[in-house]
């Protein structure tokens, strides 16, 4: 019949439109994603290339190295990090390294402390039932910890200024470590508790039957199994502490100053030349960008905890 002969042609043209539509859709999808990737990465590219520019290139707004302009080590030289100055003494570089070490110590210290406190608390909340003061059950206690995320740093800033002055903890790394720990503790508890909840309690019971104490079970059996979550929590708190600015600016002056504060103080001064500022920014963001690229899997795992319920 005529309709039978017409049918395959109809289907063929439908398939062809379908395929064009899929191709168009793919082009659109890749286009948008690439555009956004460009938006994300362009500022970094711009900063890195600016650190290799000289005055003329900056004012002209040149974009591509070796095509628009000739790269120059000037910016890095002022930091003491260019090939010719790297073996000489440089006050800027030694200050930079000093702040860098401060950032490392405070971030690692706070992350480790938060991890210890948080793991213990998360394990307790995951396995036992508690009643404490006005908090009737575990979810109340959990809310007590998580709700500290709501606390804006401003609220604590002045009490801590006064308290640290009295305790002689101003401008010390220990002081910052304690403060940063309290900032990231809720996040650590959140992530690690999620991890513990996914480990079946039968493993605990098997350990108890074998004669281990509660702490033995925790340290020998459960903790090694929870390692991915622990690493994710640790890295996430590392990133948050490293980039913290508010408390560091308020509570440190010369001894314990961290990297963001140093970068910020350079920004404020007038007449800063762009290439050295760009070099400084590049050096300041490099560590975390490298960490982010290398450990992306853990960071994403940590960030998306609890998003899937």
């Amino acid at each position: 019949m005529a309709s039978d002969i017409a049918a395959p042609a109809h289907i063929a043209s439908a398939i062809a439109t379908d395929r064009t539509r899929t191709i168009l859709w793919r082009v659109f999808a890749y286009g948008v994603l690439l555009f956004w990737a460009f938006v994300c990465l362009f500022p970094i590219y711009w900063t890195v290339t600016t650190s290799f520019k000289s005055a003329v290139d900056v004012t002209q707004g040149h974009v591509i190295p070796w095509v628009d302009f000739q790269p120059d080590w000037k910016g890095w030289r002022s930091l003491g990090l260019s090939p010719d100055t790297i073996f000489q003494t440089s006050t800027v570089r030694s200050e930079f390294l000093d702040r860098f070490v401060n950032s490392v110590i405070t971030s690692f210290g706070a992350s480790i402390l938060a991890l210890v406190l948080g793991c213990l608390a998360a394990y307790g909340l995951s396995r036992f039932r508690y009643k404490f003061a006005w908090m009737r059950n575990n979810s109340d206690i959990l809310f007590f910890f998580i709700s500290q995320l709501i606390l804006p740093p401003v609220v604590l800033a002045l009490p801590f200024l006064v308290l640290y002055k009295a305790l002689a903890l101003l401008d010390t790394r220990v002081g910052l470590i304690v403060l940063y720990t309290l900032t990231v503790l809720p996040i650590v508890i959140w992530i690690v508790r999620d991890q513990f909840n996914s480990i079946p309690i039968e493993l605990d019971e098997a350990g108890l039957v074998d004669g281990l104490s509660v702490w033995g079970v925790f340290l020998r059996i459960i903790l090694p199994l929870a390692l991915p979550g622990l690493v994710a929590a640790f890295i996430l708190s590392l990133v948050l502490c490293w980039n913290e600015y508010f408390f560091a600016a308020l509570l440190t002056s010369s001894d314990a100053k961290t990297l963001p504060v140093m970068v910020a103080s350079q920004t404020g001064s007038q007449g800063i030349n762009w290439w050295s500022m760009a070099a400084l920014s590049t050096a300041a963001i490099a560590p975390l960008v490298i960490v982010g690229i290398a450990l992306e899997r853990y960071i994403i795992k940590g960030l998306s905890t609890g998003a899937v319920k």
């Binding site: 508690y130 709501i150 800033a157 963001i285």
Partner: protein, 371 residues
């Protein structure tokens, strides 16, 4: 005694001898006395009543630490196995009380004072006069209004992030490259972002953003000169950092969706528009609400970018409450007033979030019941 659920231990009580129990009680009692004595001695010394060898308040800190350890040990002594379990949560609780609860209460006390840190006079009690000043402070209310604006912008960020998540969730190759590229903004400190984009790219003379704007016809691009444009620029900076964050959360949620539901919809003849509106979006509602609320919580703390790029300008237009209070602390030296501003803000946030969470709970329940 008999526990109903499988996920928690049952309390098993081994016999604890009375001797052990009283030893525990003595331990706590003695260290509490030590702590109280130290506090009293410090207060007396600060007021000039007696003179001890204290040079600062650190002995109180040490006494508190000793007391905490004693509390932990005594729990084990007095309650046996239950004490061992309490030991898990005790450190975090004691830490939080010392570092969060106590300073916050202390903050409420400071808010009632009139205190100029740089003068030698010290604090005077001024009761509610700080609160009265607060209600007359137009800059503060402007900053509060800005917080509403920035929070409302979270919805825009959410829409963009959802779109990106949908695209990334489709059949795309090189997903890992995109994920890493989108993750990079989150790794940067707000200070770096402030300079890299705010001061460098958006610089009105040489920055590429300005050049692009001139290309598109805007003659004198100045991203931070007029209030609303400045607000939009700050929001762009913050969005640049946080849209990837929302996208990661939403992507995780999308990847956890059961595929059969979508396939069933396609089999039933739904177009992709209908499939999205009636299947994907409702299923994603819990994750979406969580992501938006988390984002709003962090947005309410926004300060670093504003401080470093515009210092609240022009004329306080881009101020967030945190950046405004930061300046109050640095400039006016009336820390009692600054703390009042901060405490008021805290109370407002708590109210706002409680209302929001209640709404969110109701929406999630409606979505689940298919209303």
């Amino acid at each position: 005694m008999a526990a109903v659920d499988d996920h928690h231990y049952q309390i098993s009580s081994y016999g604890v001898s009375p001797g052990r129990r009283s030893a525990g009680r003595w331990l706590v009692g003695l260290t509490t006395l030590l702590l109280a004595a130290t506090v009293v001695a410090e207060i007396l010394q600060a007021n000039g009543v007696i003179a001890v060898w204290f040079s600062d308040w650190r002995p109180v800190l040490y006494a508190y630490l000793v007391w905490s350890v004693a509390l932990g040990v005594s729990q084990v002594l007095r309650r046996g196995e239950a004490g061992l379990r309490a030991l898990f949560i005790l450190p975090a609780v004691l830490f939080t009380i010392a570092v969060v609860i106590f300073p916050t209460l202390f903050g409420f006390y400071i808010a009632s004072l009139d205190w100029n840190l740089s003068s030698f006079e010290g604090p005077h009690f001024s009761g509610l006069s700080n609160l009265v000043d607060l209600f007359h402070d137009s800059y503060y209310w402007n900053a509060l209004f800005n917080m509403l604006f920035y929070s409302a912008m979270v919805l825009v960020e959410y829409v963009i992030a959802f779109g990106l998540a949908l695209l990334l969730n489709a059949e795309i190759r090189a997903r890992k490259f995109f994920r890493i590229a989108f993750l990079v903004p989150l790794m940067l400190s707000p200070v770096s972002v402030s300079w890299m984009i705010g001061k460098s790219i958006m610089e009105s003379r040489f920055g590429p953003a300005a050049a692009l704007a001139r290309h598109l016809g805007w003659d004198n691009p100045a991203f931070f000169a007029s209030p609303w444009i400045a607000r939009a620029s700050i929001e762009t900076l913050d969005g640049w950092v946080s849209i990837p964050f929302i996208m990661i959360l939403l992507l995780a949620g999308l990847q956890a969706l059961p595929k059969e539901v979508l396939e069933a919809a396609k089999v039933d003849g739904a177009t992709s528009g209908q499939a999205f509106r009636l299947v994907t979006f409702p299923l994603m509602l819990p994750v979406s609400i969580t992501a938006v609320i988390i984002r709003i919580i962090f947005k309410l703390k926004l300060a670093d970018i504003v401080i470093n790029v515009t210092a609240g300008g022009p004329g306080g237009a881009t101020d967030t409450v945190s950046s405004f209070i930061y300046r109050v602390y640095r400039e006016r030296s009336n820390v009692g007033y600054g703390t009042t501003l901060a405490m008021f803000y805290l109370v407002m946030i708590i109210i706002f979030l409680t209302v929001l969470l209640r709404f969110a709970g109701r929406w999630t329940r409606d979505a689940r019941s298919g209303a």
